[in-house]
């Protein structure tokens, strides 16, 4: 009973393109590794001695009950929080105390649990803003906006239009995002993160508050993003069906500690995980 409560991975093994992935260890190159990271705010320990790694090209899920430290973990990875202990290395390079914009420059993009779009800007501008780091032209060219600055703008616009096509949001291109329905806002936010062409994409509950159809759409985008563009994805999600279907490997947190790590099947059968989600019988 406990295993079914956590969802099944039946769909995943059904679809042909995933068969070889689950049978052979495709992802062997390490992209990010977190080792012995601890984070506390004053006396509150948010994360205690957590270690895990993310391989290049995989979909890695981070799950756990509310308050388990999942979002804190993402915040540590992209530099919002600085852990008191532990080492994070990204693409083989160790890093300490990194600012968010430096993390962005090194190739980490992120979406937020609560949509964090630029509300006063159009869908197009929001996604264009993801290209900021890739645009180079300085103040002088921006002022006259002919020649190099304009060509650069158009070149990036082409990329952005590809993303708009991919996410099927062409009809809302010029609309201010503040007025869009929630599901579309989430999609625009994914597009904005995609525009950065990141090596590692962190998705913080990309499907929270969505209906089944929207969830299926979003799942499709995530799978395509992973298989077609080869983007490595770390994902926090509460919908276990989605997690078990999408993720190659899952890490489970509870009260800031890691309690399980492995393939969806392994995690589902772990007694500790079942206890964390369903409680311990007395």
């Amino acid at each position: 009973m406990s295993a079914t409560a956590l969802g099944t991975s039946s769909q995943k093994s059904d679809s042909p393109e995933h068969v070889d992935q689950s049978s052979a260890p495709l992802h062997t190159e390490e992209l990010l590794s977190v080792s012995h990271v601890s984070l506390s705010f004053g006396g509150v320990k948010a994360i205690t001695d957590i270690s895990f790694d993310i391989m290049k090209g995989e979909v890695r899920a981070i799950i756990g009950p509310n308050g388990a430290g999942k979002t804190s973990m993402l915040n540590v990875i992209n530099g919002f929080y600085h852990p008191q202990e532990g080492v994070i290395s990204f693409r083989g390079k160790k890093r300490r105390r990194m600012k968010p914009h430096q993390a962005a420059a090194s190739g980490i993009a992120r979406t937020f649990q609560n949509v964090a779009l630029f509300k006063g800007m159009s869908t197009l501008d929001n996604i264009m803003s993801g290209r900021s780091l890739k645009m180079r032209r300085g103040f002088f060219w921006q002022m006259i906006h002919v020649g190099p600055a304009r060509n650069e703008e158009i070149r990036h616009r082409e990329k952005v239009e590809e993303i708009i096509d991919f996410l099927e949001i062409a009809h809302i291109r010029k609309q201010p995002v503040g007025k869009l329905p929630y599901g579309l806002q989430k999609r625009v936010e994914l597009g904005r993160a995609m525009a950065m062409e990141p090596d590692l994409l962190l998705l913080d509950e990309p499907m929270a508050g969505m209906n089944l159809e929207e969830k299926e759409d979003m799942s499709r985008f995530i799978i395509d993003l992973n298989t077609e563009f080869g983007t490595t994805i770390a994902l926090i999600e509460h919908d276990m069906g989605v997690v078990m279907d999408l993720a190659d490997r899952v890490v489970v947190l509870d009260y800031g500690k890691k309690i399980a790590d492995g393939t969806p099947e392994q995690v589902q059968s772990s007694q500790e995980v079942i206890d964390a989600y369903l409680g311990v019988g007395h």
Binding site: N78, F80, K99, P100, H101, A103, A104, A105, A109, R110, F112, A116, L117, F118, K119, G120, M121, D125, M128, S129, G130, S132, L133, M135, R137, F139, Q142, M143, I144, H145, A149, R150, E152, E153, I154, R157, E158, E161, R192, M196
Partner: protein, 361 residues
């Protein structure tokens, strides 16, 4: 009906990203520029140009400056008057030291000093947001005002404490000083304002303008997109203060002819802020609408009683003007808190589908 872009198909991103993608807008702007450059100097009186158009343009430029900072980059500032003062006093000093250099170049350079002041007083914005930041810019206002009053070097140690504009010529036509004709001054101001507005529009639609709006809308997400808050905020302060500085220099050199420290006091900062709020935050058109509303409308209202043949004493006219303007401000802010520019935008959207409002766009 007027605003149907039907048939105007864009076949390139360049055309789609043009400043004014709709043909009607381009025609409209062309008509406005033609009448501003040709018809107004040719057919209107010196009073109209000197008392209405010149101040209107100066204030519009200052409002553009403040709007870049407050409307686009989201940093509230109450120091506009002081930054205009920095521009005016530096232009005065520059004119003293380089008497042979063209005054237009000096005016454009004086904005640089104001930009430096803007950066210095923008530093608290890295730690402080919103109303609290407004208070720190208030410090800029009072500190700089004190400098204008106490540092005698700034006004060349003259007894009056005022800066007097020397006469300067462009192509042998006086454009500053007492003998300069309003038309000449007007044309110089108009050219500078038109040019700087175009530059602002260009910067705002590109990478840098976008980074300011990102900081305004969601600074955390902006940082994650690789925007350095330090650089984005300070560049907004610098760019904005440059505009305020040039507006200040224009105000003294091309409009007032001489000025004391009172010309740059806190009331002035508020006046510009009201123009931005009434006109519309985050809209360049709004700056001009706001400046027109706050400056031109009172002049017109003041003229109404005499036109109607009513013989009112000046004080009564002044009170009536204040009442009417106050009521209008409240009215417009209730109808549309986002300012006149938003009203104009809504009107355009309605006009697209008029007279069939239920047809989809």
């Amino acid at each position: 009906m007027l605003y149907r872009e039907a048939g105007q198909f864009k076949t390139s991103y360049a055309a789609d990203q043009a400043l004014l993608p709709i043909a009607q807008d381009r025609i409209g702007l062309f008509v406005i520029l033609i009448s501003a450059f040709l018809f107004i100097p040719a057919f209107t009186s010196d009073f109209f140009i000197g008392a209405i158009m010149i101040p209107f343009l100066v204030f519009a430029l200052a409002a553009v400056g403040l709007n870049i900072l407050t409307g686009y980059a989201g940093q509230l500032s109450l120091g506009t008057g002081a930054f205009m003062g920095v521009g005016a006093y530096s232009c005065y000093k520059l004119a003293t030291y380089f008497p042979d250099t063209n005054i237009i170049i000096l005016i454009l350079c004086s904005g640089v000093f104001s930009a430096i002041a803007g950066i210095a007083f923008g530093l608290p914005s890295l730690r402080i947001k919103g109303l609290y930041l407004a208070i720190t810019t208030l410090a800029a206002q009072f500190f700089l005002e004190w400098c204008f009053l106490r540092i005698e070097w700034l006004y060349n140690y003259n007894d009056s404490g005022a800066i007097e504009v020397p006469q300067r010529k462009l192509f042998d036509i006086a454009i500053t000083g007492a003998s300069a004709s309003p038309v000449a001054r007007y044309l110089v101001i108009l050219s500078i304002v038109a040019l700087l507005t175009l530059v602002a529009a260009n910067v705002l639609r590109g990478r840098i303008g976008r980074s300011w709006m990102m900081i305004r809308d969601m600074d955390i997400a902006a940082e994650l997109m690789g925007i350095r808050p330090l650089y984005a905020k300070l560049s907004a302060f610098a760019f904005s203060s440059y505009y305020c500085g040039v507006a200040g220099a224009l105000m003294v050199f091309m409009w007032l002819g001489s000025a004391e420290v009172e010309a740059f006091d806190i009331n002035h900062s508020f006046l510009i802020l009201f123009m931005v709020i009434i006109g519309g935050m985050g809209s360049l058109t709004g700056c001009f609408m706001g400046a027109a509303f706050i400056w031109v409308l009172p002049v017109i209202i003041r003229a109404v009683p005499s036109m109607l043949g009513l013989d009112l004493i000046a004080a009564t006219t002044e009170h009536i003007t204040n009442i009417v303007i106050g009521v209008l401000i409240i009215f417009f802010l209730i109808v549309e808190p986002h300012g006149l520019a938003r009203l104009w935008q809504i009107a355009k959207e309605k006009l697209r589908t008029w007279p069939f409002p239920y047809s989809s766009t």
